[in-house]
Symmetry: C2
Subunit: 284 residues, 2 copies
């Protein structure tokens, strides 16, 4: 568990930033916050999520922080560190919540002074809502927390990040390389969202809702999407995502070909393979 | 509700045939059954689902039936009616449970004598299991029942089919043309299964299960599939399904193109469209 005598700063008090603030405050830590939206700060202050907040003139607040958690989108995070990194106190260890890593982490780590450490991590939890007001609805207890250390990270930094995840209540804490993380995310999350969105965009068949069983509902549940955030995530990881789309499309075209030629045996073979893999997946 | 003085025959005592037998017996009807599997018949008899069953020498049993429900796959149904249709009693009204209609219904209706009526229907309910022993686990109460009458059907036949669905406890009973039904099924059910199966076949990434959130789990739940039945359904409806695959693939390629060119605005537009449609869908 984390040291409660340290001061934490949340930069970007949205859904996840808010949840971190709430859990850290509950753990007895002093939590400060910076956000561009005064209402979010006021709400968090009124509900006891933070001890203080600022939307401007926050240089002094930055330098008080022993630890920072960035709840910003990748593009904003990169800009913010470039602009305000000079106020980081020596010894600062900070992390983020970004769903993409490689293209983001390396440039930021490259510009940090040696006495400041960025240990990247990704809490794999979210909601189809946003904003600090909805933070309490986010559940960490069944979720994965992934730490993605690089050669620039120290055992102390990794250990701090792990203790943060424990304090936040994550079920499972794992380390992956930046490349492994981004490839995994391209497959289990982004490809699924690309498919669900494409299925909804393919035709305006929502009137068919009245006939549908659970299949269509299950496949498109994640098609309700925060467009700004997901455009960020997709574009920052586009090489992996495009490769996954191509691989998926190859399998789909193989099925179409079996339909065109009436190749029943090949269809059945694909169905057996998918059944076997999905069954193995359930046993994990 | 149906007339309990009539005799019902179930041909094909699997998951759905068994559920029909169970519900009809509960409604006080005399239910007979024909199946190729003696164990299924024995089980159903022992559990009070049917009054009698036969796997051979069932010509007399056929001619006793006022109504037949076919729980067979399309290919088997077509063959069975060709072979045993001569034993149908005059005045017989029968239905099926098939998930595809057009290519199946028209040839069968064409060969029936004028005093026998085939009113096709599709109970949109199932389970990821099969066999009469699992019948009781099928839930009709939240499901759709679709009747697909043609010009060969009579108001009396349609009315009987509707009362059957009411007796079985379906939440919602609708009429569609054969074409409307098959196009709808190609979209809301078959395309979704084609996508889920392709996603599982695309790569052996089941080891990634430990990292996945709910997206991958939701999208691939239906990838566990009865390969014989689904090869039947896909091939009998392949024109519709191929058209749906093409339409879906066009949207997916549009997204890939936006990724390749870094067209953030176009990505966001697709995300907004999918969000809007999925929200409308939820309001149905």
């Amino acid at each position: 568990m984390i040291d409660p005598s340290k001061t934490y700063l949340i930069v970007g008090l949205g859904l996840l930033g808010g949840k971190y603030a709430l859990e850290l405050t509950r753990a007895g830590v002093r939590v400060l916050a910076i956000d561009t939206n005064q209402e979010s700060l006021d709400w968090a202050l009124a509900h006891g999520y933070i001890a203080a907040g600022a939307r401007e003139n926050f240089e002094e607040m930055i330098s008080q922080a022993d630890h920072i958690v960035f709840g910003l989108y990748p593009t904003a995070l990169e800009q913010w560190v470039g602009q305000y990194g000079k106020y980081f106190r020596p010894g600062l260890i900070f992390t983020d919540v970004s769903g993409v890593k490689k293209g983001l982490v390396e440039p930021i780590q490259a510009i940090l002074p040696p006495e400041v450490e960025f240990i990247p991590s990704h809490p794999m939890a979210g909601k189809e809502v946003s904003g600090v007001e909805n933070s309490a609805r986010v559940e960490f207890s069944g979720a994965n927390f992934i730490i993605t250390p690089t050669q620039k990270n120290t055992p102390r930094g990794i250990e701090w990040c792990r203790s943060l995840a424990q304090t936040l209540g994550f079920a499972r804490i794992t380390c992956l390389s930046l490349e492994e993380h981004d490839a995994m995310i391209g497959y289990v999350s982004q490809l699924c969202h690309a498919i669900a969105v494409s299925l909804m965009c393919a035709s305006d068949n929502t009137r068919l809702a009245e006939y549908t069983g659970d299949s269509f509902r299950d496949l498109t549940r994640i098609a309700k999407i925060n467009e700004k955030m997901w455009a960020e995530l997709f574009l920052w990881n586009k090489e992996n995502l495009i490769a996954e789309i191509d691989q998926f499309d190859t399998a789909l075209q193989e099925m179409k070909q079996a339909l065109l030629t009436g190749d029943r045996e090949h269809l059945e073979e694909m169905f057996r393979l998918s059944t076997r893999r999905r069954t193995a997946f359930d046993q994990h």
